[in-house]
Symmetry: C2
């Protein structure tokens, strides 16, 4: 390829700079023609003439074939990506929130020849979007489970392995650059939730909104909960999960107990993992770094390559399997820790297998409907209630003592 | 898609039958028009009119767009695939030996519009060929290591976890259908070797012949060797490995010591794994079932889907990075067990860190050149010498006692 493909870059943060460096270091068949940034005043590693402050200069430049959008602000990103697609550009984005919130709209915007890729939006460096769309296209996916947020996983690993408390571990993650500027996006499960929404579309043809997923974070997990897990040989991980039963799919983001011997039990620190159970493929596990400049930029580059002569996503399931629907109407085995026993009245447990008291408050283990948990998401967050699902364990009812064998922790 | 794409199937064994069943069960947009088989007399699950005994009937049928080749005989398969490509067909094959031995020839045969896919040839159900070709296309791959043969891994797992001896474990693998009809293809490392040769092309642009890879199997591993590993907290796995140092790549298939805590130490039974270390992507691990009818057929189906409007492989590295060359001129840390001390004279160890005696024969641990091992492949096999590489361990020299602290096992 003699003539280099011209790309326009939007955003010059951690991923944008890594992308720029790799493109130059590896002499790839694309050039970054122009970089659109927001703040004219900011000191940058490249000279002034590389930058523009007007997105129109990229989108109206007929020589620029590919727009690479790498900014934080999801609403601004959506406007730019939309404009790019309408102008018939090939657009590559890493913005998970933007894609999760607008996927169906984005798919409809490609009429003028615009195309859209977003490998880097889900689990950074792991090639899961392309694989889900192309390799698993028709495959009946029974389950997806995974660790989609490197920052939360790093925090939980440091707490478990080095005995740090939550705040120390969070501070360390921030120091090492693993955490978003607003850590609640990571530890509250929102980042994971957006990634799961994107995979739901490719895996099941379901387009849903992030707000319809029950999303509970790790931010209130304390030593009580970790001791409860440890005493039973378990770890706690922040898990994204989707399960298909006949034509109903339920999904959630929640801290879950994981057995140390399970595949996801080996995934530590800032690593991510996606475990896919297909009807024919059986179980596949993909692990890798879910964040960081170079790994994420590597996914962006794979997308830019795909713009050269390859179609974008097939959305096979979305086109063909419209009979699969999203539903929260299932029971889930969970451990729930409350601070005041009155809080428990809000939760309609279907069965209680075990309960106990802590110095402040107490816990129950039993079955509750996912729909119920979802409707109480704001209450859970407001009251600092901890929920840890036992849905990754083989026989949670047996594992957690039955009601008449109550364990009372102090 | 209203009109179904017509495919012609060659071979109706385990994978062929699974493929036929999945295509019908999932009402996919392709039909199996005709199935070419070898023996007219054999009883089959489908009625006579589905079959032909003349390959020409498939390749000369203008309605058949895609030929799916799933037979054992690699030379017969090569002739058929060649004929298909020359006729401008889209060809999908699962034949690793055929692809490994003829890859460069096959690539040159696509001038008439023929295209070739072979996802199922490497690690059955794991989507590694497409990922290596498309996602890692430009990525400078530093290392590939993996467990590519389900049958050998099953045997080693049963020996390790259930105390079976080699022959019992092999018989069990055969009973469960995990082993090739000639088990030496599995346990001798030849199946793994063919898969590694295919990946070398996509990962480094190297087209080499299977016979230029040092390939040592697990068939002579005995309790001495397993005890040696166990006493040091290690397992033995049959490993495919390729390493790039500057512009030289070396590769081999060999039993290797693996720490139980390493990624590959968790991969048991008939599961396969591919661990890829890239300059920018960092470490990625892919695991899944490497064999079996349905998982392999799932990969074949992904390829058939790709024939609808997608280009076949890019071979980016093969086109661009011709300066990378294959070389065996490196030192490798290995454990070697001999039956007669005279055998040791054949091996020019560069350093010996440790040696010891067994009841019959003895062992040395030290450094030897890979080139040397490769030239002695036939001798190693003939004498039943065991070689286990320590190249997956972090500090093998420290791990295995130095020469003046000889461990003498009995």
């Amino acid at each position: 390829m003699d003539k280099k493909i011209k790309t326009g870059l939007v955003g010059f943060g951690c991923v944008g700079q890594a992308l720029y460096e790799i493109i130059n270091a590896e002499s790839l068949p694309f050039d970054v023609s122009r970089i659109c940034v927001k703040n004219p005043g900011k000191a940058r590693s490249l000279s002034e003439e590389n930058f523009t402050y007007r997105y129109e200069e990229l989108v109206n430049d007929p020589e620029i074939e590919v727009i690479v959008e790498l900014i934080d602000d999801s609403e601004a990103a959506f406007k730019m990506v939309k404009q790019g697609l309408v102008a018939g550009k090939k657009v590559v984005t890493a913005n998970k929130k933007m894609v999760a919130e607008h996927l169906e709209e984005l798919m409809a915007l490609k009429e003028n020849g615009g195309k859209l890729w977003y490998e880097a939006a889900v689990c950074g460096g792991i090639p899961i979007v392309m694989t889900m769309d192309q390799f698993y296209n028709y495959e009946p996916i029974q389950e997806i489970s995974g660790i989609f947020n490197g920052s939360s996983n790093f925090i939980l690993t440091k707490i478990e392995q080095e005995g740090l408390d939550y705040h120390q571990a969070l501070a360390l993650a921030q120091k090492l650059g693993f955490a978003e500027s607003n850590p609640l996006l990571d530890v509250g499960g929102y980042d994971t939730m957006n990634k799961l929404v994107i995979l739901l579309c490719h895996a099941y043809g379901i387009t849903t909104t992030p707000s319809s997923l029950s999303t509970i974070g790790i931010q209130h997990i304390a030593s009580n909960d970790l001791d409860f897990a440890r005493q039973r040989g378990l770890k706690i991980k922040l898990i994204a999960k989707a399960v298909r039963n006949n034509n109903l799919v339920h999904a959630y983001v929640m801290p879950c107990f994981v057995d140390a011997n399970q595949d996801l039990g080996h995934v530590n620190n800032e690593f991510n993992a996606v475990l896919i159970k297909g009807k024919y493929t059986d179980e596949h596990l993909f692990t890798g770094k879910g964040a960081g400049g170079a790994p994420t930029a590597a996914s962006v580059i794979a997308d830019i390559y795909a713009t050269i002569g390859k179609p974008d996503y097939d959305y096979y399931k979305w086109h063909d399997n419209r009979e699969i629907t999203y539903s929260n109407k299932v029971s889930l085995p969970v451990y729930l820790r409350y601070n005041h026993s009155a809080e428990l009245n809000e939760f309609g447990f279907e069965h209680i297998w075990s309960e106990g008291r802590y110095k402040n408050g107490g816990f129950v283990v039993g079955e509750i409907s996912l729909d119920n948990l979802w409707s109480l998401n704001a209450y859970i967050e407001q009251k600092g209630i901890v929920v840890v699902a036992a849905s990754l364990l083989e026989n949670p009812q047996r594992l957690f003592a039955t009601k008449d064998q109550q364990t009372v922790a102090v």
